[in-house]
């Protein structure tokens, strides 16, 4: 194919494209119905134009069945709910500035609060700034300049921290448990520690216990 043929094919293709734009917009169809076709159709190859008109009429959009539509909609809704689960686990938490002692929430040029104690300007909304001020007042004596995540993650983190603190306290707690099982376990443990001493206190008992360290007499 020569360059001239290629240019000619491109020009024909462009003309066809313009004609298709027109008939898909309904302009040429209306003009043809009125007996006054516009110039684009006249310049187009009659065979191509007839084929385009016929395909415009015969290639229809096919709709799926209503049952399929609703079934797929339900399946997509299930998938959407599954996608939302990670969000519910705390990903929707937002960063809240937790200012250092003596510092209120700072604001940027546009009025948005910024994280204090940091070079990174992370704009947060006004509600978050108010919440940060309340938190700062409540923690007046403590210096915590790290941001907190408010949301689902805070709940789970608080529960985890409470559990860890309880276990630590339980292990380090002085005194004895008063439950029957604890008393029984303690009695057994103490008996194991005390019994050898008691046995050793009885004269002649050590001869009953075979001592593997002593060589046995063969006579």
């Amino acid at each position: 194919m020569t360059g001239l043929d290629r240019d000619s094919a491109s020009a024909d293709a462009l003309l066809t494209d313009l004609y298709l734009d027109a008939i898909l917009a309904g302009a040429v169809r209306d003009a043809l119905a009125g007996g006054s076709p516009d110039g684009i159709g006249d310049r187009l190859d009659p065979g191509v134009r007839r084929a385009a008109d016929r395909l415009r009429r015969d290639l229809v959009r096919v709709h799926p069945s209503f049952r399929f539509e609703e079934r797929l909609a339900a399946r997509l809704a299930e998938a959407a709910v599954a996608l939302r689960v990670p969000l519910a686990a705390g990903a929707e938490g937002r960063l809240v500035p937790f200012p250092a002692q003596g510092l209120g929430p700072t604001t940027g040029d546009d009025g948005a609060a910024l994280l204090p104690g940091s070079d990174i300007d992370v704009p947060v909304d006004a509600a978050a700034a108010d919440l940060a001020a309340d938190l700062a007042a409540a923690a007046a004596q403590r210096d915590r300049s790290r941001p907190l995540i408010i949301g689902g993650a805070l709940t789970s983190a608080a529960l985890s921290l409470a559990g860890a603190a309880f276990v630590a306290w339980r292990f380090g707690r002085p005194g004895r448990a008063a439950t029957p099982m604890a008393r029984a376990a303690r009695a057994v443990r103490e008996a194991r520690h005390v019994a050898p001493r008691a046995r050793l206190a009885v004269p002649g008992v050590e001869d009953l216990v075979p001592d593997r360290r002593r060589p046995r007499r063969l006579d």
């Binding site: 094919a9 190859d45 084929a51 395909l55 415009r56 096919v62 959407a80």
Partner: protein, 226 residues
């Protein structure tokens, strides 16, 4: 030359608005932007996009595969994949694409095209031009005229079905989905000029086919280049 409509651009876009968009980003003009953003925030809101494009995706799959059940299967896979990957979707429309541009639709049809290709890979079968679909355009009250229309419709469907895959795909996207040349270029991964030539040649082939069937000397259909 490939048209960088739906791809990243390294140079700043001269028509990008000065609204804080990063340099090199394409201006966002997608008509589906509110629905897409809502669905990205809450996946349950994807339903609106699903209802809007269900028939289009289903039609595309049906014209490609020629079977209702297979079209349903591909449609289901397409929308599930779109929902699962919606967070990664990025809008790439430009002002030059016009008001009706939807990069989401192009993205969705790219998924559908891949789903069809995967499906076809599983069952290497020649798609049949479904005759019953031609009845959709016929008037049920006009029996005589309806029969003629069905016959003509079936002939058109068969002529399109005999086209090579890329030409048939381009025609379906142009006539059935009423996509612009730019959108088809995005779906097929070709330049706009190549798509224009593809459609023009496809129409010439269909014209020859239809003329041969109605004329005195019927020609054999073109070999399928699929």
């Amino acid at each position: 030359m490939a048209r960088p409509v739906f791809g990243r651009t390294s140079a700043p876009d001269p028509v990008a608005p000065a609204n804080g968009d990063a340099p090199g980003r394409i201006a966002h003009l997608d008509r589906d932007r509110p629905l897409v953003e809502a669905a990205q925030r809450d996946p349950l809101r994807f339903d609106a996009l699903y209802r809007r494009y269900l028939a289009q995706v289903y039609s595309y799959a049906y014209y490609e595969l020629g079977d209702h059940h297979e079209a349903e299967d591909v449609t289901e896979r397409t929308f599930l994949a779109a929902l699962a990957n919606l967070a990664r979707f990025e809008e790439r429309a430009r002002p030059a694409d016009g008001e009706g541009a939807s990069t989401f639709r192009v993205w969705l049809f790219q998924i559908a095209r891949n789903a069809v290709a995967n499906h076809r890979r599983g069952r290497r079968r020649h798609p049949q031009a479904p005759l019953e679909a031609a009845a959709l355009v016929a008037d049920p009250l006009d029996v005589e005229g309806g029969a003629a229309l069905r016959e003509e419709g079936a002939a058109a469907w068969q002529a399109v079905g005999r086209l090579p895959a890329d030409r048939r795909r381009a025609l379906v996207l142009r006539f059935v989905e009423e996509m612009s040349t730019a959108e088809i270029a995005g779906v097929l991964g070709r330049s706009e000029g190549a798509v224009r030539v593809l459609i023009h040649r496809a129409l010439r082939t269909v014209a020859r086919d239809l003329r041969g069937r109605t004329g005195p000397a019927a020609r054999p259909p073109e070999p399928d280049g699929r």
